[in-house]
Symmetry: C2
């Protein structure tokens, strides 16, 4: 298809940009996770490196790095810097999948159409691969290639640690286990489900949008704007995910489905009904688009991302 | 005992300083791990917070924070800053114990005389508590209270990530699993054992000494000096640990013993014999002391620490 066609259709432009981000992130992670140890490292044990590479390379839509790259681009940040921050966030995302898939957690055998890390390697290697990727994310952010100004790098570290930690993703995973009823009757009101999801998936998606603003050293107002976009996008992502778990096909998704219902886990589609959940989803896409209004046409690809997230089938 | 006695005997002075560091770290971690969420956190789920507190409070010699505090004190760094960095390193140490104790790893039921985290809670909570503590370490380092200069904070993040990651502690844990023969015949020559230990326990102990230098913004020569001290101390610590595993008493140690022999794991005492290992240990204490020579009497407590590490019985 011609370049004019791609530019003309924001959806196609979005897909081209998403694919471009994924290819660049793949190349960067492949380079960062090379066999040779770097300064202050003693060695990179082969089995751990391979498990970390297996967990982070060759798969995934790379939505979070895409969000870093595109919000950074809005603010004139060089792409190489956004790629470094995006690679760090992707390491955190990858670690969370490896640990969530463990037998003691969600006990999943399949991820992105391949055996999960503890199936392809073993449980101990999977635990360590997750630990290694989480630690590596902060190593990446601390490097001068991410941004020459240490104040920017440390702001990224602070933001990522808080989005991923007890008050964000890790805390959300604990609430998710509780929502299965593991630790007594689960608190399953709508408010609880919204909090759980804001933490478990929302915090990292929202931070991906803020990372671009941190790299761009933009105003607090701009950060607030893109935080609002990221927050709506994160909620939309989760509702779409829950609908896919209800209605999707395991082969297309590359992971098992129907698990929430089997676990009696409260999701918004389960609490509100599918139609109301779809209405909520559409409203969130509208919110995400509205947040982007100050940027005009420059943010068209981020608007398209909101539609993609809501409408995806895998 | 009088203050004069304490000052006169470096060993007693050391014990007083180690206890003081432990008490201050306990108070600081208790405050940092409070129930209330802080900026950009959505909530601190109770069960995860409790498991993180269980894993990090109320136990441990706090040797690593002590090393940060004392090397920082040599260079005139305010104690509050060293405590922040020490608390971060202690979170990483605590996470490593929680994950190492998991059934898929060393499968330990007892730690510091109490049930391990997966015994006191459950396996999923233990995995998440470790993840939460590791992430929290970087949160702590990124805060302005750790140091007003972002360049110092980001240097701490970089150093900790590299000491804890694939090229340091996490990599060392993988080599340790391999040394049990899990993934085929283990490479158990002396060189392999030294590398394993330099990574598994050495890297974090060495970094604890370097952290004081980073906080003090001292010269590269000073960093090299304290790195040499930290490296010798780390090796001494591990040989003493291996001897304790062979000869120690589980009740005194608060953890099980005799595990290395049972697992057929190569240690320096096993490879060289206990007497040769003791000779090596004494030589390492000498090396650690020699490295401190440029600091004269000011480093007496760090010298005493080297003796303590070599001679400890628990």
């Amino acid at each position: 298809m011609s370049r004019a066609t791609v530019i003309g259709d924001p959806r196609l432009a979005f897909i081209a940009r998403l694919d471009g981000a994924a290819a660049d992130i793949e190349r960067l992670l492949d380079r960062l996770l090379a066999a040779e140890p770097i300064a202050a490292e003693i060695a990179r044990p082969t089995r751990l490196l391979e498990a970390m590479r297996y967990a982070s390379l060759g798969g995934g839509k790379r939505l979070r790095p895409f969000l870093v790259i595109e919000t950074a681009a809005l603010l004139g940040v060089p792409r190489e810097r956004a790629l470094m921050a995006g690679a760090a966030i992707e390491c955190v995302h990858g670690y969370s999948l490896v640990h969530d898939d463990l037998p003691a957690m969600d006990d999943d055998a399949l991820r992105r159409g391949r055996p999960t890390v503890h199936k392809a390697y073993d449980e101990a290697s999977a635990i360590l691969a997750g630990d290694g990727l989480l630690t590596f994310a902060f190593d990446i952010l601390a490097r001068p290639e991410t941004h020459p100004d240490p104040a920017v790098r440390v702001a990224l570290v602070a933001g990522l640690a808080r989005a991923a930690g007890i008050g964000g993703m890790a805390g959300g995973q604990m609430l998710d286990l509780a929502a299965e009823g593991r630790f007594g009757a689960p608190p399953n009101r709508e408010h609880d489900v919204v909090t759980l999801q804001a933490m478990k998936t929302g915090a990292l998606i929202r931070f991906s949008c803020e990372a671009g603003v941190i790299l761009g050293q933009a105003s607090d107002a701009t950060r607030e704007t893109l935080r609002r976009y990221g927050k709506a996008l994160g909620q939309a992502f989760q509702i779409a995910d829950d609908l896919l778990d209800l209605e999707g096909d395991a082969a297309t998704l590359g992971k098992s489905t129907g698990k929430d219902e089997a676990h009696g886990k409260a999701t918004l589609p389960a609490l509100l009904g599918r139609d109301a959940a779809r209405t909520r989803l559409a409203a969130l896409v509208g919110e995400a688009e509205a947040a982007l209004a100050p940027f005009g046409e420059a943010a068209a690809v981020l608007s398209a991302a909101a539609h993609f997230v809501a409408e995806r089938r895998s």
